[in-house]
């Protein structure tokens, strides 16, 4: 019954990608002109893919919900992008980047994909520099690198605290060049609502024009989903307000398998929640952990006094501070991976040592300002300190920052094979939207790398292997039966949403659902909570479809309708996340099951029973999905327990 074939090329690991490229089918220039490719999403993955495919001569249609493709949420990434260039001569290599990524992912990612990612990482930097991305440079004019997220080598390239912005603008510029050349046609303010399948293959999409409300049909010989992660299911997250998982979710409902939905990343350094009106959480770059020390008071009475504002952080003597990461993980200290740092913060706060609202810990620069001087700290983190002060109204040069973990990234996503194709022929998924490279935990500065690797250097090859067999398929008219049927279903869904006219606004219901998801499928999970979550989300789905209130019309710009459709999908996604977390009876990476931990409270992985990708098959709303397993084999790396203590 298994549908899973990852189609990993034969041969030794270091030769697989070259072997693949040598043997794959290509499409000749005359035929490329006859082929249409739909790319949904214009972030790093989508824009780089659209640009590269356009340059090759394919007809590309690029869709985004924003008013301009330049606003995709990749733009908010701060810290940097990894590449195995080994410019600092500190021992980096393709193998080491691959090794760190597999280990960081807690041995739940696919080895061949990760190796390829490390292999093309250097090309990405070359490409971006050629595009005019103003990376940081040293005084000799060469590129600067920094160490990031606990890596032992300096392999992170950066452009101040705006690396994501600069990389995205590079990809956007390349895409706009193709818009000018006529190979890419842009559809901004347009949201994909469904995929059209013809004889089992992805052949198009149904969209809604967000300005006029018009429902439109688009044909493509292949469809590429590059719509990012589903983290805003939690309501509060570091994602953009419009970020959503609906394109991937519709793909799932049309038959694509959804892999490891419970693997979400909780980032340790975000500005804590400060009120129930709050709409999103702001990330403070992980690079701050290079010089900031994380602590809470050693005594509960001090924590309480700090929470009440009776004392200030500087009143707590050094010996009364618990630098808990340095205490628990002497080898890595404040630079442990994100999942470990996040759980440790939660542990201290749950035990009653939290500051601020009780759900916050300090990130303190006093020691590094003393050691390096304020000027150096300002040079390194000036924009972040300013951002913090704007939001919180406190000066982090004088009083420690307060931080708390928040939902940040989704490792899980559409299951794809080595070619980045889902289980639906002709439907591809790239960037955060797929599952393949980060396992159960993503390392810092690796998301940008993966998005651009997929879009610039992998998909433009692998999609041709599929399209080579499609050169005889003429463009299909969009008034065919399958297009009209799918459009009819979408119209029915939207009309149904509009007609409910219930009592609760979309935001209220989303906030309610998000809190439940955070509580039961968040940083710490257990079977009781997960079973409860599955039941509650199912009844919440009913409640949504009977009590939601959308004002305004269907044939006009209507953000309430847009949000409602996304939240309906989030609630269903939440149910699948809970099911996935429940079946995975182990703790690994960002997935922590309270029943499976060591006596010291560390994650306890179970490689004998759970070294597999969990890929779920949709069987109908409210019905139990079917679990498929893709076993993971590590041929070039010794599987071991992550240890950040020694």
């Amino acid at each position: 019954m298994t549908k899973l074939n990852a189609r990993i090329p034969e041969g030794p690991m270091a030769e697989k990608w070259n072997n693949y490229k040598a043997g794959q089918k290509l499409v000749n220039p005359a035929n490329k002109r006859k082929l249409d490719i739909i790319v949904v999403g214009t972030g790093l993955a989508g824009a780089s893919a659209a640009a590269s495919l356009g340059e090759l001569g394919f007809n590309v249609k690029a869709f985004c919900y924003q008013d301009s493709p330049r606003r995709a949420h990749s733009i908010a990434a701060q810290g940097g992008i990894n590449a195995a260039k080994n410019y600092p001569n500190d021992g980096d290599s393709v193998y080491r980047l691959y090794y760190d990524t597999i280990k960081g992912g807690d041995y739940r990612s696919r080895e061949a994909n990760v190796y390829r990612l490390a292999e093309v990482s250097g090309n990405i930097i070359d490409q971006c520099v050629a595009q005019g991305v103003p990376f940081a440079r040293d005084y000799g004019g060469l590129l600067d690198n920094r160490s990031f997220g606990g890596a032992q080598v300096s392999r992170t390239f950066y452009a101040r605290g705006q690396t994501g912005q600069q990389l995205l603008l590079g990809a956007y510029s390349a895409m706009m060049r193709q818009v000018n050349a006529g190979t890419v046609k842009l559809y901004p303010r347009t949201e994909m609502l469904d995929i059209v399948l013809v004889e089992g293959k992805a052949r198009g999409i149904i969209t809604r024009n967000l300005v006029t409300g018009n429902i439109e049909r688009h044909f493509g010989h292949a469809v590429v989903i590059a719509t990012g992660g589903y983290g805003r299911a939690f309501y509060l997250s570091t994602k953009a307000m419009g970020s959503n998982g609906s394109a991937a979710w519709q793909a799932y409902k049309r038959g694509a398998l959804f892999a490891n939905p419970s693997f979400v990343q909780i980032h340790p350094t975000c500005i804590p929640v400060h009120g129930d009106y709050q709409s999103k959480l702001t990330l403070m770059s992980e690079s701050l952990r290079n010089d900031g020390r994380i602590w809470v008071p050693r005594k509960k009475e001090d924590a309480e006094a700090l929470r009440n504002g009776r004392v200030k952080p500087k009143d707590i003597a050094n010996e009364d501070r618990d630098y808990y990461l340095e205490r628990r993980y002497p080898a890595f200290g404040n630079l442990v991976p994100r999942d470990v740092a996040s759980r440790a913060a939660k542990e201290r706060c749950d035990a009653g040592y939290g500051v601020g609202s009780g759900l916050a810990v300090y990130l303190d620069f006093e020691e590094s300002i003393g050691r390096l001087g304020k000027k150096v700290i300002e040079e390194r983190y000036g924009n972040l300190f300013q951002m913090y002060e704007k939001i919180v109204d406190e000066n982090p040069y004088e009083t420690p920052m307060m931080i708390y973990p928040a939902i940040h990234y989704c490792m899980g996503g559409l299951w794809v094979d080595y070619e980045l194709m889902t289980t639906i022929p002709g439907l591809f998924s790239i960037g955060e939207c797929n599952f393949s490279d980060h396992g159960a935990n993503r390392l810092g500065a690796s998301a940008l790398m993966q998005g651009l690797a997929d879009g610039y250097f992998i998909l433009p090859y692998t999609i041709q292997n599929y399209l080579a067999a499609e050169i005889m398929t003429p463009r299909m008219p969009v008034d065919g039966r399958e297009f009209l049927e799918t459009e009819g279903q979408i119209r029915e869904r939207l009309n149904r949403l509009m007609q409910i006219k219930g009592k609760q606004s979309v935001d209220r219901m989303h906030r309610k659902f998000g809190l439940l998801l955070w509580e039961m499928v968040g940083m710490a999970r257990n079977s009781e909570g997960l079973n409860k979550a599955i039941k509650e989300f199912s009844s919440l789905r009913e409640e949504f479809w009977t009590d939601i209130r959308i004002t305004g019309g269907i044939d006009e710009m209507n953000p309430e309708l847009e949000k409602a459709s996304r939240v309906a999908d989030f609630i269903e996604t939440g149910e699948l996340m809970a099911r996935d977390a429940l079946q995975r009876e182990e703790s690994c990476g960002g997935h922590f099951r309270e029943e499976f931990q060591t006596p010291e409270g560390e994650a306890s992985r179970n490689d004998n029973d759970f070294m597999f990708v969990a890929a779920w098959e949709y069987t109908g709303t409210g019905k139990e999905p079917v679990l498929h397993r893709e076993p993971l084999n590590y041929e070039n790396i010794k599987v071991q327990t992550r240890n950040y203590k020694i």
Binding site: D126, V179, M241, K390
Partner: protein
């Protein structure tokens, strides 16, 4: 905190707009301006009314989507922020706040506070890039770039394309936006090759779309959330002039 809001409402591009007055009460000073609008919209939905449309996305000052003209200033009364980073503590309790969309002819209103800024994308498509294809580029460290040049390029590249410069300018000029891109590439050896064609094409497109010219009032720099300097406009002018002469 309590506020009276005078907000621009307009059903679509063709309709005539008007100000509507609404009151919001009990707003936390830590609330962002957009979160305050969320609270207003919740009130409107509770009354079965249409919420106010406004562009927003990242809510951390980097996507450039928000485009609110608040009390006569793009992004409101704070400096070096976008509207999503503006907090209500910057206002006084009881204030009346006027909220309008960007006011510039090349940015027509789509609905309420939402405007059409696709002109910026068109200018970018005309020449806002370095003409390299994917692959086949030299190693990233082949050409050293003086650090100071790279830093100046980065200063310019920080533009988020929000359009506050156009909205602030009495001529609705897009010079600061165009200058930021031209200047970024002119500072880098990779971009230098095409400077001439780039500056001519981008300026021609800007003119064609109806953006005005620069008369050096400096309003754009004053209101730019990323504090992009008008010295980049000087560099644009220099590049444009040499392109015309040579």
């Amino acid at each position: 905190m309590d506020f009276t809001l005078k907000i621009w409402r307009q059903q679509n591009a063709a309709a005539k707009g008007r100000f509507e007055t609404h009151k919001v009460a009990g707003i936390s000073p830590d609330c962002s301006f957009l979160e305050m609008l969320d609270i207003l919209n919740q009130q409107l939905i509770d009354k079965f009314e249409k919420p106010v449309c406004f562009d927003h996305d990242c809510r951390e000052g980097i996507c450039g989507a928000c485009s609110l003209y608040i009390n006569g200033r793009p992004h409101g009364p704070d400096s070096a922020v976008t509207a999503c980073q503006l907090h209500m503590r910057k206002f006084k309790d009881g204030d009346t706040i006027v909220v309008e969309p960007w006011r510039a002819r090349p940015f027509p209103v789509i609905k309420d506070l939402v405007v059409d800024r696709s002109g910026f994308d068109k200018i970018m498509a005309a020449g806002g890039y370095i003409s390299v294809n994917t692959g086949g580029v030299p190693d990233a460290n082949t050409i050293p770039v003086p650090r100071a040049h790279a830093e100046t390029a980065m200063d310019a590249a920080a533009c988020i394309g929000c359009g506050a410069c156009v909205a602030a300018c009495k001529n609705a000029s897009a010079m600061l936006f165009v200058a930021a891109k031209v200047s970024q590439f002119a500072m880098l050896p990779q971009g230098k090759v095409e400077t001439r064609e780039r500056v001519l094409k981008m300026v021609a497109k800007m003119d064609e779309l109806g953006f005005g010219n620069c008369t050096n009032t400096g309003a754009c720099e004053a209101e730019c959330p990323k504090q992009i300097s008008i010295s980049h406009i000087a560099r644009l002018n220099r590049e444009y002039l040499s392109a015309k002469i040579l």
